[in-house]
């Protein structure tokens, strides 16, 4: 049995109440985490990974569960997202590929976007980590070094392994945040921030309320391809999303994004724009796939080797782009 660390759970019923609890805790300099579906946070807590003394649950806040073609609330479950008639088909495919049906019932969109980064030196029991004298991301006060890139002790290169972000970035999603200081929003690709411990731009006490998608979202076609050990529920070892708008002579717009390869997901604007400007069918896709492979820098901290994951990025990009040349 995994012993839960002690923490106090708060269960607010409105967004305002949640933000006010966060403000009170912040004023007293007490650390806390948000919890949505808990399918990432609770396993991490059971392994005593950076557990906080207070946890604020978002599950009672119904205003965060709104879902339609252009608006996805942070608390929409992955199950509901995948089953909704409003969801873009490529987003359905990505959502359906996450974890298992059971986990998708609890796991949420907000939790997926804010998923903690992963590393096989980190996602281990407390005893296991103690046996290797910890690592920088959860050093238990020892100032332990990073096990992947040693002798630097400032950077964590744990991998971002969530599936929704690349598809949402290609669909032009905007992410909306709230705190007691007000609301703000930004293109999703600007939300993520290096390194593996910083993860994103969220300030203490700030949370994700929802995602919006542009009006033209249904004019974009595409695919999401994922590499993993077991089809049933494994995290992406690499994931590639490709979305495009078609003209008469080929794509007029193309976006490619990747996940599972670095500490933040990547939107490969330059490579995609080059492909559009020199469009020549399958030859262009080959060149594009190679350019995406060269642009990603996986490290040795997931189950497959970095070189294999890089090679597979090329294969996945080609597969994701196959619809561009199908007639």
């Amino acid at each position: 049995m995994m012993r839960m660390p002690p923490f106090k759970l708060h269960t607010p019923k409105t967004l305002n109440d949640a933000l006010n609890i966060a403000r009170e805790l912040s004023n007293e300099e007490i650390e806390f985490d948000w919890i949505a579906g808990g399918t990432d946070l609770l396993p991490n807590y059971k392994w005593h990974l950076n557990a906080k003394p207070h946890v604020i649950s978002l599950s009672g806040i119904s205003e965060l569960s709104k879902l339609n073609s252009n608006h996805i609330g942070a608390m929409v479950s992955l199950h509901d997202l995948a089953k909704s008639k409003y969801t873009h088909p490529v987003l359905v495919k990505a959502a359906d590929s996450i974890a298992s049906t059971l986990i998708r019932r609890s796991g949420t969109v907000g939790g997926n976007i804010c998923l903690d980064t992963r590393c096989y030196w980190f996602n281990q029991t407390e005893q296991w980590r103690e046996s290797i004298d910890w690592c920088h991301k959860c050093d238990c006060g020892t100032e332990a070094d990073c096990r992947v890139i040693p002798n630097q002790n400032t950077l964590c290169v744990a991998t971002y392994q969530a599936d929704l972000a690349p598809v949402l970035m290609c669909l032009g999603a905007t992410i909306h945040l709230a705190s007691v200081n007000g609301i703000r929003s930004m293109p999703l690709h600007n939300f993520f921030e290096l390194d593996g411990m910083t993860r994103n731009v969220l300030q203490h006490g700030e949370l994700v309320t929802h995602i919006t998608l542009p009006e033209d979202v249904n004019e974009w076609k595409g695919d999401y391809q994922k590499l993993r050990q077991r089809e049933s529920w494994d995290f992406p070892e690499a994931g590639v999303a490709a979305l495009w708008r078609m003209g008469t002579k080929g794509p007029t717009q193309l976006r490619i994004a990747t996940t599972g390869l670095e500490s933040i997901p990547g939107l490969h604007l330059e490579e995609a724009n080059n492909a559009i400007s020199k469009w020549n069918g399958s030859n262009t896709i080959d060149t594009l796939a190679d350019a995406i492979r060269k642009s990603v820098k996986p490290v040795q901290n997931t189950w497959y080797s970095p070189s294999y994951r890089k090679k597979m990025v090329k294969v996945l990009t080609k597969r994701a782009c196959a619809g561009l040349i199908e007639r």
Binding site: M2, M4, L9, L42, S57, S100, L102
Partner: protein, 182 residues
């Protein structure tokens, strides 16, 4: 170690019976069910969301109780494996797991039964693909899964075609030929 009963009052309808308990504020549903509500049918496998042994129905929806905070399901209707049978009459899915070899060592079985009973409630005639998809979060180390899919298929036939449950206590062969009394 059993968790000490904390100071939060919690209630749920567990298998149709209203329960009121004092639980720790951060208690996990699996711990409450096993250690305080007496549902030992709900199994602890991995405790990390990977095996499905701890599955229960929360308001009819399958959930992993090891990744559910009890406080978040305060007031809910919870069905564990103990709640599937109707008195002494097994649910068809339970009877067919016994008939078709869907259960061997049995440790994973409560999770499979809960998940597949929810599948049949929602979709009484699932395809093999739909059955496999429904059980993708449940691990079984004994059966190799085919017997589990067969069990669900057989239960579906009972539910949709009105086939009768076989009496699994009637002998299938004569263990002592020639000594049948008489």
């Amino acid at each position: 170690m059993l968790p000490s009963a904390g100071d939060v009052s919690w209630s749920a309808e567990i298998n149709g019976v209203n329960k009121r308990l004092n639980i720790e504020n951060n208690a996990i549903l699996l711990d409450v069910l096993r250690d305080q509500a007496g549902s030992l049918g709900t199994k602890r496998g991995c405790d990390m969301g990977t095996c499905g042994c701890c599955s229960v129905l929360v308001n009819g929806e399958p959930r992993l109780s090891c990744l559910t905070l009890a406080a978040e399901v305060d007031g809910a209707a919870i069905t564990t494996v103990e709640g599937l049978a109707d008195g002494h009459h097994l649910h068809p899915i339970q009877a067919m797991f016994a008939e078709c070899g869907g259960s061997q060592c049995g440790f994973c079985t409560p999770g499979f039964l809960v998940v597949t009973s929810a599948l049949l409630d929602e979709n009484p005639n699932p395809s093999d693909k739909e059955i496999k998809c429904a059980i993708e979060g449940n691990l079984c180390r004994c059966t190799g899964y085919q017997q589990i899919v067969d069990s669900v298929r057989a239960a579906s036939d009972i539910l949709t075609k009105g086939l009768q449950l076989e009496d699994s206590t009637s002998p299938k062969s004569d263990p002592h030929p020639g000594f049948s009394g008489g």
